[in-house]
């Protein structure tokens, strides 16, 4: 019996590890592949079949990208946007979620419904564009922050988390004479670290990655160009270069960039900061998500 069970155990472990290993490799491979392409010679990459190791090592793809003026300034702007947007976003999300988590709040139901409706129905791109234009946000820095201030999905996660906190904590604080703001900032948020870090990461990544609002609403103000937008420009100019090189006979001898390597290097550049932050938030991240899920 014992032997048999342990054989089963061993088999299970082997299976387990194999499946996890395959899964791990499958998740890691695309990233390694990009890293390898980004470090491979642009011309050589044309031939394809680069897997996890560069064939002709070079840092030229990165230097092509970093040679662009305006990139550093754009990166600074992106960082500022991410920091400001995240702080304000988390703050507003927390305040709204707290209000909605309080049973005594008499507009709780209608607010919840209104918020959820926006998750399924929206005005569409053109009405939204007109709205942004008419309230004067066009080509203004506020267009990066204001429209994104509240994410309903984030509010729901946070609200659910707040709802499962012991009611007694809030009540006793109230008896001690604390106001709602004091309760939120001094007590509720202090014990909600997992959900806070989850939402922070969500919002921060969203801000860091976004370039669409830059392209749509702020393209006529060069002082608002973000990192992602500048990178997109570099990629497009590389694509244009290849296209015009193929249709015109000029520049027959020039060593050119290759959109594929540029794209790979770009991805690595923008992913690295997130990769660096992620491990520190990860343990809270899982916790925050599961708690919220349990409650719902």
């Amino acid at each position: 019996m014992f032997v048999r069970r342990s054989i089963g155990d061993v088999a299970f472990s082997i299976m387990n590890y194999t499946v996890l290993l395959v899964l791990g490799i499958a998740t890691l491979f695309p990233f390694l592949n990009l890293a390898a392409i980004s470090l491979n010679d642009a011309g050589d990459t044309l031939k394809g079949t680069i897997y996890v190791w560069p064939r002709v090592f070079t840092l030229e793809n990165y230097s092509t990208i970093f040679a662009n003026e305006g990139l550093a300034a754009a990166a600074v702007r992106s960082v500022i946007r991410t920091v400001v947007g995240t702080v304000l976003g988390v703050l507003c999300t927390a305040m709204l979620a707290y209000a909605l988590s309080r049973r005594e709040f008499f507009l709780r139901k209608p607010f919840n419904i209104i918020l959820i409706i926006t998750m399924y129905v929206n005005g569409g791109l053109i009405p939204f564009y007109l709205l942004v234009k008419n309230i004067g946000l066009m080509n203004h820095a506020a267009v990066y922050i204001l429209p994104m201030l509240i994410g309903v999905f984030n509010v729901i996660i946070m609200r659910s988390y707040f709802e499962q906190l012991p009611e007694g904590i809030v009540e006793s604080a109230r008896i001690d004479g604390a106001s709602d703001f004091q309760i939120l900032f001094r007590i509720v948020l202090q014990i909600s670290l997992p959900v806070l870090s989850t939402i922070t990461l969500y919002i921060a990544v969203m801000h860091w990655n976004s370039w669409f609002d830059n392209y749509l609403y702020a393209s006529r103000n060069e002082n608002l160009n973000l990192l992602q937008y500048e990178l997109q420009k570099i990629l497009i100019s590389s694509v244009n270069q290849v296209m015009s090189a193929n249709t015109h006979i000029d520049a027959t001898d020039a060593r050119r960039t290759n959109p594929e390597t540029i794209r790979a290097a770009m991805t690595i550049i923008v992913t690295l900061p997130i990769l660096l932050v992620y491990p520190f938030l990860q343990k809270y991240f899982v916790k925050g998500m599961t708690f919220a899920a349990m409650k719902e």
Binding site: G43, L46, K47, G48, L125, I126, Y129, L130, K133, M138, F212, Y215, L216, S219, R220, Y229, Q232, K233, I236, S237, N240, Q241, V242, M243, S244, A245, N246, T247, H248, I249, D250, A251, T252, D253, A254, R255, R256
Partner: protein, 577 residues
């Protein structure tokens, strides 16, 4: 409050006066000269000089600078270049580019919806229609009548083609004055230099001859640099399927490119992949496959140029734009023998080559339209008119005399330094100002490579001499073996056609049938090429044909035949034949 109001009034008055002065000078220069002479009275010599000056340079009046905004997707475009500086000197006009970094049409639609589009838009015919319907465009007929003598002169008999069905001109683009194959034109069957060399540079005209030399080369060199030699490759997944499995049939039949259709002398349109010539071509591919010469990965790859870049594909069907970058890499890697010869190949020795065609105008994806945002649209038309003038043509295409080109033996020639810069710097054109939003063929209303201006010299630098200067030694050697100078020499002279079937919006009522037919084509293609023997091939062919016929092949052919007849009738009516 009152102070600003006053200031505003003064400014307005000043600008009205200024406009009056400019308008007076530019619209009626001679009169200006006359007034001056009468007031000047005694000094006849001076008056004469002024008069001459005025008649020589009607644009001489100090031009009020004016800036127009214009959309672009080329982030490198700038007005800060030597050539653009002269544009501004001559016309007073500057362009400020409004960059679109994302999806172009989406942004254009948003602009239209919100009314904040740039003054001038470069866009395709569909977008032009949208903007027109949205009331965002200015019709250009009167402006061109008044301010566009050079535009009219260059368009000549084809001027009416600019007009929409409603008789108005909503956008402007280049006109093709060239009737010869462009110096950089080339046929689309490609064969590696080394293959031709080993075979002793034979004259090859047919696919069967190609087969023989491929077989001989592969038997002798089963591997190239440690990897299996591939006789012939293709790409079946993705959009290149049309280029690889439809276009070669058209080329080998010597017909002009009408997409997936062929048109006979009577205007009958036929779906090409199921034509008798298609059967011939697929059996050629099948023969390659059966003898191990066809790339087994062709069925699963979507980008042929990646395979070509490996240097072990001996031959293929690949337009120059697919191969250009690859060949640069071969040269840089020191393997010029892996470059390709571009030869026209046919089904038989007596196929007549009618594949080289030109359309009279360059209507296309970048037509320039003036929107209601533009102030003084006549100034912009004057600017375009300048670009259409011979002086503007030379400046925009050849550059500045002494800086970019010189006149040698009465012929414009690019200077050696300019040639060198063009060869080595992919951004050279943008930096000097040769590049603009396209206008159909190249930049700045190019009238066609190979066209001549009124001085009898070429309108653009893309001439045979220029093309020759760009070839490497091995290319020249290979060409010499065939008694030619350029790949374009293999092509017949161009015939003017009104347009191509793929440019006309397809008939709508046969969408479903067309889709089913295309699906049948894609389903049977691999079966045909991989057929084990002649019976297998024939049964696949019959299967494909009957599936397509069931799906409505006759209807589709009929609808396209009507469409083509209709298009030709309209064309004739427009140019007044």
């Amino acid at each position: 409050m009152s102070k600003t109001w006053k200031k505003g009034l003064t400014l307005m008055a000043a600008s009205v006066m200024l406009t009056g002065v400019v308008a007076g000078c530019s619209s009626n220069n001679n009169e200006g000269g006359n007034t001056q002479s009468s007031s000047n009275g005694g000094n006849a010599a001076a008056t004469n000089a002024t008069n001459e000056d005025a008649s020589k340079n009607p644009e001489k009046a100090p031009l009020e600078p004016i800036t127009y905004t214009m959309n672009t997707t080329d982030e490198k475009l700038t007005w800060d270049t030597p050539i653009q500086k002269i544009f501004t000197e001559k016309t007073g006009v500057s362009l400020k580019y409004d960059l679109i970094v994302g999806e172009e049409t989406q942004k254009q639609d948003l602009w239209l919806a919100s009314g904040d589009y740039p003054d001038v838009m470069a866009m395709g015919p569909t977008e032009v229609q949208k903007y027109k319907d949205g009331g965002a465009l200015i019709p250009l007929n009167d402006l061109i009548d008044q301010y566009g003598p050079n535009i009219k002169e260059k368009f000549g008999e084809y001027f009416n083609l600019l007009k929409d069905e409603d008789g108005k001109i909503w956008s402007i683009y280049g006109v093709n004055k060239s009737r010869e194959a462009k110096a950089d034109a080339s046929a689309n069957f490609i064969i590696q230099y080394d293959v031709l060399k080993e075979a002793g540079y034979p004259q090859i005209k047919t696919l069967d001859q190609l087969y023989d030399i491929l077989k001989a080369y592969k038997d002798k060199h089963p591997q190239i640099e440690g990897k299996d030699t591939i006789g012939f490759s293709g790409a079946m997944t993705g959009w290149q399927v049309n280029i690889e499995y439809n276009n070669p049939i058209i080329s080998a039949s010597g017909l002009p490119d009408h997409g997936n259709f062929r048109i006979d002398g009577n205007g009958q349109v036929e779906y090409n992949p199921v034509s008798e010539d298609a059967k011939k071509y697929y059996s050629f591919l099948n023969k390659l496959y059966q003898n191990g010469l066809y790339d087994k990965e062709a069925f699963s790859q979507d980008d042929l140029s990646k395979k070509l870049a490996q240097g072990r594909v001996l031959a293929a069907y690949a337009p120059k734009w697919m191969v250009g970058n690859v060949e640069t890499q071969f040269r840089l890697d020191g393997h010029p023998e892996r470059q390709y010869a571009y030869l026209p190949l046919f089904f038989s020795d007596d196929t007549a080559d009618q594949s080289n065609t030109v359309v009279p105008t360059f209507a296309g994806s970048l037509q320039w339209a003036v929107t209601t945002s533009a102030k003084n649209p006549e100034r912009f038309i004057q600017f375009i008119d300048y670009l259409f003038s011979d002086e503007g043509q030379i400046l925009s295409q050849w550059g500045i005399e002494g800086t970019h080109y010189e006149v040698k033996d009465g012929k414009r020639t690019l200077l050696p330094a300019e040639l060198e810069a063009r060869k080595n710097d992919p951004d050279h054109g943008t930096k000097e100002g040769f590049t603009s939003n396209g206008t159909g063929s190249g930049s700045w209303f190019n009238v066609g490579d190979g066209a001549k201006l009124s001085d009898g010299d070429y309108a653009t630098p893309l001439t045979k001499d220029y093309q020759l200067s760009l070839y490497d030694d091995m290319t020249k050697e290979v060409l010499a073996k065939y008694g030619k100078q350029t790949w374009a020499d293999f092509l017949p002279p161009a015939q003017v056609v009104p347009g191509y079937l793929w440019q006309v919006s397809p008939p709508e009522n046969i969408n479903l049938q067309a889709k089913k037919i295309e699906e049948a084509w894609k389903k049977y293609l691999p079966k045909l090429i991989m057929a084990k023997n002649a019976t297998d091939f024939d049964s696949s062919w019959d299967g494909m044909k009957s599936t397509m016929e069931k799906a409505g092949l006759q209807e589709v052919n009929g609808a396209y035949t009507d469409l083509w007849a209709d298009f030709n009738a309209k064309f004739k009516a427009t140019i007044g034949e």
